[in-house]
Symmetry: C2
Subunit: 259 residues, 2 copies
DNA sequence: TCTGTAAGTTAACGGTGTTAACAGTTTATC
DNA sequence: GATAAACTGTTAACACCGTTAACTTACAGA
């Protein structure tokens, strides 16, 4: 099955071209907007003709799916790397870091954010079976964070997440089990709600609905992220911000190459 | 300047056609998805040719802008009407109702929601000066609600919104004043955050990121809406849900005609 | 050297937004 | 009532899009 080294070389070249195509698509998305990401434009950019791209991607939608998976991966990498800059037992720090980096990644990759959480490509519907695994990695990161803190007994959930209807508890526990998450249902509940809080603020900001707040949008978000940390009974530390700055500078250096 | 009755009749006919065009666009959006909303498809639907549409809308983007303004208006109508079904001094009820109806409208008009808060049309950028006033009406509704409760002394804001950096207070107060909102800065702060919370959950749900929660997404949202009401020191009442059901049935009867 | 495969090409189909030039009807004016 | 103007719609065309089919070209393996 694995062949002749010659064949493997060819495969390497193929994925190199595939990467070039994705890079061109990403470049166009960044400079001309999501609307300009057309197979013909990409081909022009690469000095090819459009039909040639079909040797590498079955269709425009396949290419977009690849871009989406890459975006999820980039996002997860940021989150994981940033959280890993803090001690494993610094639960408050890691949780706050997660929230803060979630916004930083979005601001640094607005087109990717739109690709994942808006619906910028008309007629495209993400194939669940391909994008869901990529998306789950992010969820896993935060759930692992929460679970670690939970195991360490560091978490005291606010009433909102403990005093809930019984059927809701049950159904949520079922959902968690079905998805293979081994965490208390209330943690899953909190994670979803927290995600919603952060997602909403970022989404509103990036799509231009918070112009009223101007520069203060970041401050609103920061307070929200800290509130969420407090919500599980943890105490956010200012030291986290210093490490965040360090992470961002590191990304600035290595970032632009392969986001 | 106002003319001859003849001219006014013509104007009426013109706006009637404009409405037909918007209706056709909306119909296509609902049945075939946002991708299918093309001038040619609309024209086909109306038994015309595409260039004829240019007599009524300067461009496709102008038409989309009109659809957006209509969507904002529909949303604001729902919110206003639903809140008005409760007594003016039922601050908790009105606030909870606002939150609940925000989701109900979104579920009932997913394409419009995407139009407002996603970015489903490629290459389209909403002209701020046209869409912002329409968008502000919704913000005004909730701010008026909050202010009424505030004036009545019914509101006790959680610490998150009172213990904030001094410069943040000042900048936010400036922003509020600049936008013509005569409310305490902390109310504006809370309104924005609350908006983010609700927006995030709806956005995640509608764009398919909460499939894990399944049916429970509604319950998560409900708990979140109640939490927000409690967050300003008000007590949500179960009676609100009965009135919500009443409102929704009323919308079901009159709704489909002109969304 | 011959052959098969892979990569890339051109040509074409049906779709899109948009413009220009033209026809038909209706309105206003002399 | 005839004539000019305004308005509403048409067709033809341009440049763009995703996609397919048929063809050329290079090149690795026998």
């Amino acid at each position: 099955m694995t062949q002749t080294r010659r064949e493997r070389l060819r495969e390497v070249a193929r994925t190199a071209v595939r990467d070039e195509i994705k890079a061109a698509a990403h470049r166009l998305m960044k400079t001309e907007g999501a609307a300009a990401v057309s197979l013909r434009a990409i081909a022009r950019d690469l000095g090819m003709t459009a039909p040639a791209l079909y040797r590498y991607y079955g269709s425009r939608d396949d290419l977009i799916t690849a871009l989406i998976v890459d975006a999820y991966t980039s996002q997860a990498d940021w989150l994981q790397q940033a959280c890993d800059m803090l001690a494993p037992d610094d639960h408050a720090g890691r949780l706050l870091m997660f929230g803060l980096v979630y916004r930083e990644w979005s601001l640094a990759h607005p087109e990717d954010f739109a690709l994942l959480y808006g619906t910028p490509i008309p007629g495209y519907h993400a194939p669940w079976e391909v994008t869901a695994p990529a998306a789950q990695r992010n969820m896993s990161i935060v759930l692992k964070l929460l679970d670690a803190a939970w195991q360490a007994g560091a978490i005291t959930l606010a009433e909102t997440y403990t005093r809930v209807p019984a059927t809701f508890r049950r159904k949520l526990a079922e959902a968690a089990a079905a998805a293979g998450y081994d965490v208390p249902f209330s943690l899953l509940h909190f994670a979803m709600v927290a995600w919603g809080h952060l997602q909403g603020l970022i989404s509103l900001e990036l799509f231009g609905h918070l112009v009223l707040l101007g520069e203060q949008a970041g401050e609103v978000y920061r307070l929200e992220a800290e509130a969420l940390v407090k919500c599980v009974g943890l105490k956010p530390s200012q030291r986290t911000y210093a490490i965040l700055r360090e992470f961002l500078q590191q990304q600035l250096r290595t970032g632009p190459v392969l986001n």
